[in-house]
């Protein structure tokens, strides 16, 4: 029942490969051509600025929000800080409960129907309820973020803890390992890759959760900014904000990838090599 998202690797792989093969010039070329056509079309009045904000305006907006007015930083800080705190708290809760439920067959059996129901419900839909209950402000935003990023780590940790390889269990039993030892030396390390996958999903969910909370509360944060700009039909600035989120999303993607390479090192060729050399160095001492 684990929630997986391993497949976007195939695309980033393709992308990185083609970038390396000097096709980068072609990619850039195509991109620039499209942008220029867009710009031209907009200036000629063929393209409705509502749907197709002029590229030069978008660039100008970037300049405005980042440097001249520099208003985006405040909102960025608001959104990102909440996302990170909510993610850490929510996913820790998910991991903790997932492990707890995973180790206890009775609790698992009783919790199963509730988990199924929870899984089917779009958790982000609870946002208005939480805002109404906890009031506008940081508390409800945090609650929403924690709620949306609780589930994937919970399910993944649960799955990781339950699905321990039978043969490995037998090996440990044959070595007379205690329950704690089995936990520490087998179950936990084995579950790490799945847990990491859950964390990655949780972080993306946290970002979405924050945006939805900001759409409703409309006080601060990138979401509120997008809303305000769109309301004022300032599509260029709205798009500048959206592209900012693209950059953030990309940083999250790459960041989590690096983290995964570090923590679940044994799944990656590079990680194995790195750890091999490291272990060799630490062992060979007098």
């Amino acid at each position: 029942m684990a929630v997986q998202d391993a497949t976007s690797e195939v695309l980033v792989d393709t992308l990185e490969r083609s970038l390396r093969n000097r096709r980068i010039a072609k990619h850039v070329g195509i991109f620039l051509t499209l942008t220029l056509l867009w710009e031209l079309g907009s200036r000629m009045g063929w393209l409705d600025p509502l749907f197709y904000p002029r590229p030069s305006n978008i660039i100008r907006s970037f300049w405005l929000i980042y440097f001249q007015n520099a208003n985006v930083w405040f909102h960025l800080y608001s959104t990102i800080s909440l996302v990170i705190i909510g993610w850490v708290l929510g996913s820790m809760l998910g991991i903790g409960l997932g492990a707890l439920v995973g180790f206890n067959t009775v609790i698992r059996r009783f919790l199963k129907p509730y988990v199924i129901v929870l899984e089917a419900t779009p958790r982000i839909a609870v946002a208005p309820l939480l805002i109404a209950a906890l009031g506008f402000g940081v508390n409800s935003k945090l609650a929403i973020i924690m709620l949306v990023c609780f589930f994937a780590p919970f399910i993944n940790t649960l799955s990781g803890v339950i699905n321990v390889n039978e043969e490995r269990l037998e090996l440990f039993r044959s070595m007379r390992a205690s329950k704690t030892q089995i936990l520490r030396k087998l179950v936990l390390p084995d579950a790490i890759p799945v847990i990491m996958a859950g964390e990655r999903l949780a972080l993306t969910a946290a970002l979405s959760g924050a945006l939805v909370a900001e759409f409703i509360q409309r006080d601060k944060g990138i979401g509120s900014l997008i809303l305000v700009y769109t309301r004022n039909l300032n599509m260029a600035s709205a798009f500048a904000c959206i592209f900012t989120l693209t950059i953030i999303g990309f940083l999250i993607f790459k960041g989590m990838e690096k983290l995964d390479h570090y923590i679940a090192y044994w799944k990656y060729e590079g990680g194995r090599e790195r750890m091999s050399s490291k272990r060799k160095r630490t062992m060979v001492e007098p």
Binding site: T14, F110, A125, V126, A127, P128, I131
Partner: protein, 286 residues
């Protein structure tokens, strides 16, 4: 190899099922009971957490007495399904095209990656500005958000190469079209359906979030409205219908998956075997 080969009487089977579900019923009753008492005695403030009895009255009113919910239920369900259909249609087409023509894949990939890392939810205000307050914007957001997981999963499915099988088809002199139709496409179905399941869930989320932003009809709107009227009981009663939508979508897709990708479950394999044997026998008679 059972102890007795007599068929179990119906009454016995009902009792069996009853016994299995009884603990769950008991637990549920206990939770509801404790909840009701806590709110009634003021242990928990009823502003944030309504009484089960209040929720029940709301359910009765919405679903039975006044039946207001059904119109909204079907609207949201339609938005999610249509949005999913559009997103899936585009995603699968693009994925097929990408798998068949390498250059296409290379040049489409960067834009797909950008779409992936950007939180789709961020587009909500923009989509509403473009498509207005009606169902159109909900469907559009659902389609956009569900596009990516389906695209990535389908592409990965089509691109994964089983060397042994490819070799077989090669040795039989199969054309490219035949390889695609008889090997790649069926082999891709499991992953495709995995993508569909994710896409369907995200489509529902898209529809609901768009409803939050601005709409007159839909369960998202209803929930939002009740929440801000501080009518928590009705809000939760509405949340229930969202869960039902989620369950309907999930199990429908499970059913399709089971039927179309029949070779993954023994019972389905057996049924398909029998069906094919019958058709074969019928044809042989002619």
């Amino acid at each position: 190899m059972s102890v007795s080969d007599q068929p179990i009487p119906l009454s016995g089977r009902i009792l069996d099922i009853g016994v299995r579900f009884l603990p769950h019923f008991v637990l549920f009753a206990v939770i509801i009971g404790a909840w009701e008492i806590s709110v009634a005695t003021g242990l928990i403030t009823s502003i944030i957490i309504p009484r089960p009895s209040a929720i029940w009255s709301a359910i009765v009113e919405l679903y039975i007495t006044e039946g207001t919910i059904y119109r909204h239920f079907f609207i949201t369900l339609t938005e999610a399904v249509v949005g999913f259909a559009i997103g899936a249609g585009v995603a699968v087409s693009l994925a097929i095209a990408s798998s068949l023509w390498d250059p296409f894949r290379r040049y489409v990939t960067p834009y797909a990656v950008v779409l992936n890392v950007t939180p789709g939810i961020a587009l909500t205000p923009v989509i509403i500005a473009w498509f207005g307050y009606g169902m159109g914007s909900k469907i559009a957001l659902a389609a956009i958000i569900s596009f990516f997981p389906i695209f990535v999963n389908t592409l990965t499915g089509l691109v994964q190469v089983d060397e042994d099988r490819e070799e077989l088809f090669n040795s039989l002199g199969a054309s490219n079209v035949q390889v695609f139709r008889k090997l790649r496409a069926p082999a891709a179905l499991p992953l495709m359906f995995a993508g569909f399941k994710i896409g369907l869930t995200t489509a529902l989320i898209g529809a609901v979030v768009a409803e939050f932003a601005q709409a007159t009809d839909g369960v998202g709107v209803l929930m939002s409205r009740f929440s801000f009227q501080l009518n928590m009981a009705a809000s939760l009663a509405t949340l229930l219908s969202m869960t039902v939508i989620g369950l309907i979508l999930f199990y429908s897709m499970e059913f399709l998956d089971d039927r179309i990708v029949f070779w993954r479950r023994e019972s389905r394999r057996a049924a398909a075997s029998r069906a094919r044997a019958r058709t074969w026998a019928a044809q042989a008679k002619k």
